[in-house]
């Protein structure tokens, strides 16, 4: 099979989504938000002409985890929650490969929470896409670790008794060097986030709000709906003031304890001049600022999308490679006989080697 993505030196052919689609029928429910995410991933791969031979998609279990079957790249559909473990081993073993992890709110934050936080903590160069639909879809509608408090589901007829995880806050708490949030339906924005994740060196974590139209339809409609979107969602843009609302007429200000207040922006009475609104800075060294942003939530505040944090840190595999270069500068292996003979040896009989 010819691979246009590997062609070097040849005149570039325009690539399309189809060049990254496998021959398998996509089997998500009609109307699932996963279709839109798959389309944007394939689109970004085509635009960036990414080499599918050097790309691996790794997933766990759940609706989102069927993703690798639909990408014409290398792929592993593994077991529940463990994708970051496989992906970490693969990346450390083969740093030259581009590795994308696709997971969900149950897979990534419940059964696989431990692997997720440790992959992030190590800053292994993985692109982690967490599809958050706030429900278990594949097992038919139980509440997930991102379901709202009090939500009634098949397993919580009296309401969810525990508080949800905020995936962005979890990632930041684990020391993530790149954290973003996007909507499945906001295609241009999602593409922009995927491009930035691709460019980031280190763990890139994107929470994607994704609609499950069968078990949790409209989970993000209160934010996504056109009429209210500008009012309830704030798009973070590096170097630009924290503005939202119709015509960017509102801004966010923070008190000494990180509490946010929405203010009218303008020069009139009771309004705050735009110059007094803080500009978003994704490169702040401390994750505290990004964490404050992660706490903004409906209905008290607008919900942020975009890049919360993007900082450069050495990756785990870079450090491992540097250590390896120190002990084996040429990359050549030491002679195995050196290892066999290390420590105290002695010769018995006449046929032994002299030491």
């Amino acid at each position: 099979m010819s691979n246009p993505t590997s062609m070097e030196g040849a005149a570039p052919i325009k690539l399309t989504r189809k060049d990254y689609a496998s021959d398998q029928d996509v089997r998500w429910c009609p109307g699932c938000g996963d279709y839109a995410i798959l389309a944007q991933v394939q689109k970004v791969f085509a635009d960036l002409r990414l080499d599918r031979d050097k790309t691996v998609f790794v997933s766990g279990i759940g609706c989102s985890s069927r993703f690798p079957y639909y990408m014409n790249t290398y792929g592993v559909h593994s077991i529940h929650g463990r994708a970051p473990a496989i992906a970490s081993g693969l990346k450390v073993a083969r740093p030259e490969l581009a590795i994308w992890v696709v997971t969900g709110d149950g897979d990534g934050l419940s059964i696989g929470g431990n692997h997720l936080i440790h992959a992030i903590r190590r800053n292994i160069d993985l692109k982690i896409l967490l599809f958050n639909n706030r429900i278990y879809g594949l097992t038919k509608g139980q509440y997930s670790p991102t379901s709202e408090f009090g939500k009634r589901t098949v397993s919580t007829p009296h309401g969810v008794p525990d508080r949800p995880f905020n995936p962005v806050a979890v990632a930041l708490g684990a020391g993530a060097t790149f954290v973003a949030r996007a909507f499945d339906t906001d295609t241009d924005h999602l593409q922009a986030m995927l491009r930035r994740a691709h460019a980031h060196k280190g763990t890139a974590f994107i929470e994607i709000y994704q609609n499950c139209n069968v078990f949790n339809d409209g989970a993000f409609e209160h934010l996504a709906e056109k009429k209210v979107h500008d009012e309830r969602v704030i798009a973070l843009e590096h170097g630009k003031p924290l503005l939202f609302g119709p015509g960017k007429s509102k801004g966010l200000r923070f008190d000494a304890h990180g509490r946010a207040t929405a203010v009218e922006v303008g020069e009139g009475p009771g309004q705050v001049p735009v110059g007094a609104i803080a500009c978003h800075d994704e490169s702040v060294d401390s994750s505290g600022y990004a964490f404050v942003l992660s706490q903004l939530d409906y209905p008290t505040n607008p919900v942020p999308i975009g890049i919360f944090r993007a900082v450069e840190r050495p990756t785990y595999e870079q450090t491992v490679e540097e250590q390896a270069r120190k002990v084996a500068p040429t990359g050549a292996r030491k002679d195995i006989e050196t290892l066999w003979h290390q420590g105290d040896t002695w010769v018995a009989g006449s046929g032994g080697d002299a030491e």
Partner: protein
């Protein structure tokens, strides 16, 4: 004619070579064939170091030997308590040694708790060296002694040598400027020096070793050397020891040797498999007793093509190893029973993905956390069957500490050849025990052939090699061979997800056949004695030494007993069934409640008898010999 030395095995008879010329004053040397010695003390007394140092120099002296460290799970149980007793036993000999010995001939006890916990094992008439300085009232109380055994006559059956190691060490080191606490830590070297004199070991290699070990703290090196020599000189000058004992080198196969512990042999075996295959070794692990030292050792071997990855948990460790294998390296993980339990689901995925993967289980006492520092063989059925679905995995076991090297290479060879996870069973006894290892030469070991598929033409992900039934291994990054694998059932040819009922049965059967075909590569059965007779003792794993020796003793008496030791537990050797049926009786000794015996009875419909022990300790030769005696008739006259 010589008199029986209290330092030599009672009943050992006259030394073969007669009395040796008398060396410096007060010193006569008696020659002995084998000696079993045990050092024991508080876990803070440094008994493991004492034992390993004695072993090292004994190995260098050319004796065959076998060791058994025995230490508590607690890093520092309350000082002076029975729970905190740590011991190290070794047998060394001028002939082949199979085990660390049933009972020590010499016991060095550094405190009352150590005496109490170990005295029952000392042979009657054996030599007992006690550190009287530790026999204080509080220590006697902590050990549960109502009266001082050194004074109440309860030790009359032994040759007791009372030595105030604590005080003598302090005297030897009084001018070093060290604190009394630091001086206290040197007393194990005094005991070591004394043992060196008793068994006529050369002091020079030990002095060198101390210098190296404490190279960064020369003042401690000096102090330990002083304590060591003080102990040695005490043996020479004190009137209480009339002679020392010499054990001549053993006539073992010619070659270069080193003393090796099982986990070390396993680690070096992995690196060697990397050398033989040209593959990089990707080892991912999580700390667990008694497997951790494999991770420690491998982490020093980066320059030999090994990457180690300490993971967040056991599950991640096998997952990362499998990721390494998907990436075209040889993924390996090592753990012990509780960790293996956690890895079970990933082992199933590895069976489904059909990638090479080596899973090492250094077994310990179970269930649950069980006896972390003690040995057991109770994870056999877990290895064979402990997963959901029809999930066949080849399983093999190492027999001795040095054999861990060969068993590990064999595990890697099968994993790569058949594209399958392989379970290697060792145990705490092998992991921490040691014996001389004949260092191989290049060319002794067959290369491990690895074929990565690079040709995209006609590639089907689950197309199989007709002989081994292995699918092709493809490294990600290979042009034109992108493919997806996963844990959902796959089409038998394309590897695409398939829920077809017949396809599922074909895949289950094929995976089983693939593992069964591993047996085609087996050598001959490891059989000692004729292939028929009255009794066949069938063992596996670390019971090898004790079974081999007990069978040898029984055969020397003319009993018609043979010994077969299984390298592979799955699949079983093709000739095993027929062999079992050529004996009147089959005995299966295991350090569990009877696991292999179930398998043999189920597979071969033989009335195999079980002989079990789950005490966290290996079988003794005498236990096994007694059982063999019960099941066989004495020598037949023809």
């Amino acid at each position: 004619m010589t008199t029986q030395s209290p330092l030599s095995p009672p009943g050992a008879g006259a030394p073969a070579g007669g009395p040796l010329p008398t060396q410096p004053k007060n010193r006569s040397v008696a020659e002995r064939e084998s000696v079993v010695i045990r050092f024991c003390g508080d876990s803070g007394d440094g008994m493991q170091l004492t034992g390993t140092e004695f072993t090292r120099v004994t190995a260098l002296a050319g004796n065959d030997l076998s060791t058994l460290p025995d230490f508590p799970a607690e890093i520092r149980a309350p000082a002076g308590s029975i729970a905190g007793v740590s011991g190290y036993q070794l047998q060394f000999s001028s002939r082949e040694v199979f085990t660390p010995g049933d009972q020590p001939h010499t016991l060095v006890a550094m405190n009352p708790a150590a005496l109490k916990a170990n005295l029952a094992d000392l042979v009657p008439g054996g030599a007992l060296v006690v550190n009287t300085g530790a026999f204080t009232k509080p220590n006697l109380q902590k050990a549960g002694y109502e009266s001082n055994p050194l004074e109440d006559g309860s030790l009359e059956r032994y040759h007791v040598h009372q030595v105030d190691v604590t005080k003598l060490t302090a005297l030897a080191l009084k001018d070093t400027g060290l604190s009394s606490k630091e001086i206290g830590r040197c007393k194990n070297f005094f005991a070591l020096g004394l043992a060196f004199w008793m068994y006529n070991r050369p002091t020079e290699p030990e002095i060198e070793s101390i210098k190296q070990k404490f190279g960064k703290k020369p003042e401690l090196a000096d102090a330990n050397i002083k304590a060591f020599l003080a102990g040695y000189n005490y043996g020479e000058t004190a009137e209480i020891f009339t002679e020392s004992v010499e054990v001549k080198p053993a006539p073992i196969a010619a070659g270069t040797y080193r003393n090796i512990m099982g986990n070390s042999a396993t680690a070096i075996g992995l690196v060697t498999a990397g050398h033989l295959s040209g593959l990089d070794i990707f080892f991912a692990g999580y700390p667990i007793t008694p497997a951790s030292s494999i991770l420690h050792e491998l982490s020093n071997y980066r320059a030999y093509g090994v990457t180690t990855f300490q993971c967040e948990d056991e599950i991640a460790a096998i997952g990362a190893a499998l990721g390494g294998s998907f990436g075209g390296q040889l993924g390996v993980t090592a753990s012990s029973g509780p960790g293996i339990a956690l890895k079970g689901e990933f082992m199933g995925l590895a069976v489904s993905l059909e990638l090479p993967l080596v899973i090492i289980n250094v077994q310990r006492g179970g269930p649950s956390t069980g006896l972390p520092t003690k040995t057991e063989q109770a994870d056999l059925l877990q290895a064979l069957y402990g997963r959901n679905g029809e999930c066949p995995i080849p399983v093999l076991a190492a027999m001795t500490p040095a054999d861990c090297f060969d068993a590990t290479i064999e595990a890697c060879r099968v994993a790569v050849k058949h594209m399958t996870p392989v379970v290697l069973l060792t145990d705490g006894y092998l992991a921490n025990g040691s014996e001389p290892w004949l260092v191989p030469k290049k060319g002794d070991l067959a290369p491990i052939e690895v074929k990565f598929r690079t040709d995209p033409a006609g590639y089907e992900v689950y197309e199989r090699d007709p002989e081994t039934l292995a699918r092709a291994w493809v490294r990600p990054g290979t042009p034109g061979l992108t493919h997806r694998v996963g844990g959902l059932e796959k089409d038998a040819l394309t590897g695409n997800v398939s829920y077809d009922p017949v396809n599922h049965e074909v895949m289950c059967q094929t995976r089983a056949d693939k593992v069964a075909r591993v047996a085609r590569g087996f050598g001959t059965l490891h059989l000692t004695g004729p292939d028929h007779g009255e009794l066949l003792v069938c063992g596996w794993g670390s019971t090898y030494g004790a079974i081999a020796q007990s069978v040898e003793l029984a055969r020397a008496e003319g009993r018609r007993v043979s010994h077969v030791h299984l390298r592979w537990l799955n699949p079983l050797h093709g000739e095993l069934g027929a062999l079992l049926k050529r004996f009147d009786k089959v005995l299966v000794p295991e350090m569990n409640l009877g696991q292999l015996v179930k398998v043999l009875r189920a597979e071969f419909l033989v009335d195999a008898q079980s002989f079990t022990k789950v005490q966290g300790k290996p079988f003794t030769v005498s236990e096994l010999k007694a059982r063999i005696d019960q099941l066989t008739s004495p020598k037949e006259r023809s």
